[in-house]
Symmetry: C2
Subunit: 253 residues, 2 copies
């Protein structure tokens, strides 16, 4: 069976922990292709195209560990709790997901135990080990969104989304506007109110850790060169934003 | 080594999950007695006297699983994150804890991995299995507090404490005032702002689950008979409070 999580650079010493829940479009056994076409398996409904390459570049630039998923969000969306309709969606945007229609309790429980629980337990352990050593990590999740959704074009290029505490997101917005030409917006194309910040709610908020979810429009990170360039653009934005909130609070946040 | 968690009645079918983080004053190997006297090991600084008996009675009356700790909060306080000074306290009320003074990073990490991480991972799994089956459990933590703290007498008998969502706590307060003669108060003798709702913040809030922390003054639950009587008093309070919030929202909360 596929690993529920892959952690790269666990020993890296930087302040951030980078997370990419929608890194992969793999549809491994025992779940298989869920009845999807080849085109559907490549589309944004199956994963966040470009997000893993960007996350790897950011993690290296920030000397941060990277935790990422190894299977499609359509098998289990690790950024949703088990009771959420989107955890094992029957439909995504305009696409039915045949292999998810009418899942019984046992099938839902099996995916939850195989994927969701170990992903978040290992991620919690990675973060808790740093906390026990006296380091309060900054939690950064990396996502991408489709330029056209339900037929509507999206102009936003960089979405900066927060859970309960907006402090870091506001600082990232200010630094992105000061340092990049990106159309950067707070809580677009969606926000925590839409239930998209579950990983932050689970891993950062209860620990009092600064956190932000970065959403890149996926046409801007379509190939490895573009992903590397975007990582080089955003790493200094994150570093400056972290420095800004630490100056504000007068302590290591 | 001691088990990091004990779960009783995992197959019970009721709506609640009952949790008792400070159930035990055991000081097992490899940590040992931390340099405490026999009197200190019996005192409220080591555990919540009476809380486990009350929690067992409540869990049975509510047909709920009970998850409880098997070691003293002075080795690791499972209701605190690893970076919190109270997780492995050097001092509690007026008592130094010799075995916790100057703990190095390795010792803090070792207790975190041995106790905190598995306790909360197993508790998360218990809750997530219910969520995957379509049941949204109600999370109830059971604690006790000392009648005299830093020399001050406390009049409150039942403290009802909430994390971010006050809905269930307010309903429990109303039902406790209507159904019992207890001096029941919201967010006394302390509140979530004091950092005492970590388990709720970790296990209930990110899942959107109704939650409440019950704090009983420990002179009211000093022996098994008193614990059983208090459980018989409080179980209908909880049941009525859950019915009340479900009527308010018009759905299973």
């Amino acid at each position: 069976m596929i690993a529920p999580i892959q952690i790269e650079g666990a020993a890296r010493k930087g302040r951030c922990v980078v997370i990419c829940e929608h890194a992969s479009n793999a549809l491994p056994a025992p779940w298989g292709d869920l009845g999807l076409s080849a085109a559907q398996r490549e589309a944004h409904i199956a994963w966040d195209p470009g997000a893993l390459g960007l996350a790897k570049g950011l993690a290296e630039a920030l000397d941060a560990p990277l935790a990422h998923a190894c299977q499609s969000r359509l098998i289990y969306d690790l950024n949703r709790p088990p009771q959420h309709a989107g955890a094992m969606p029957e439909r995504s945007e305009v696409h039915d997901i045949p292999g998810n229609i009418g899942l019984n309790e046992a099938a839902r429980a099996e995916r939850t135990e195989a994927l969701y629980l170990p992903f978040h337990a290992e991620l919690r352990a990675l973060i808790a080990r740093r906390l026990a050593r006296g380091v309060a990590p900054v939690i950064v999740t990396v996502h991408s969104f489709t330029p056209v959704y339900f037929g509507q074009r999206r102009d936003v290029e960089l979405g900066i989304i927060h859970d309960a505490d907006a402090t870091l997101a506001q600082a990232v917005l200010a630094e992105a506007q000061a340092r990049t030409g990106l159309d950067a917006r707070l809580n677009e194309p969606y926000s925590g109110a839409d239930g998209v910040t579950h990983t932050l709610a689970l891993q950062a908020t209860p620990m009092g850790l600064p956190n932000v979810m970065l959403e890149l429009r996926n046409d801007l990170i379509a190939d490895p060169q573009a992903q590397a360039a975007m990582a080089a653009t955003l790493a200094p934005v994150l570093q400056a934003a972290i420095a800004r909130i630490e100056t504000q609070t007068g302590e290591a946040a």
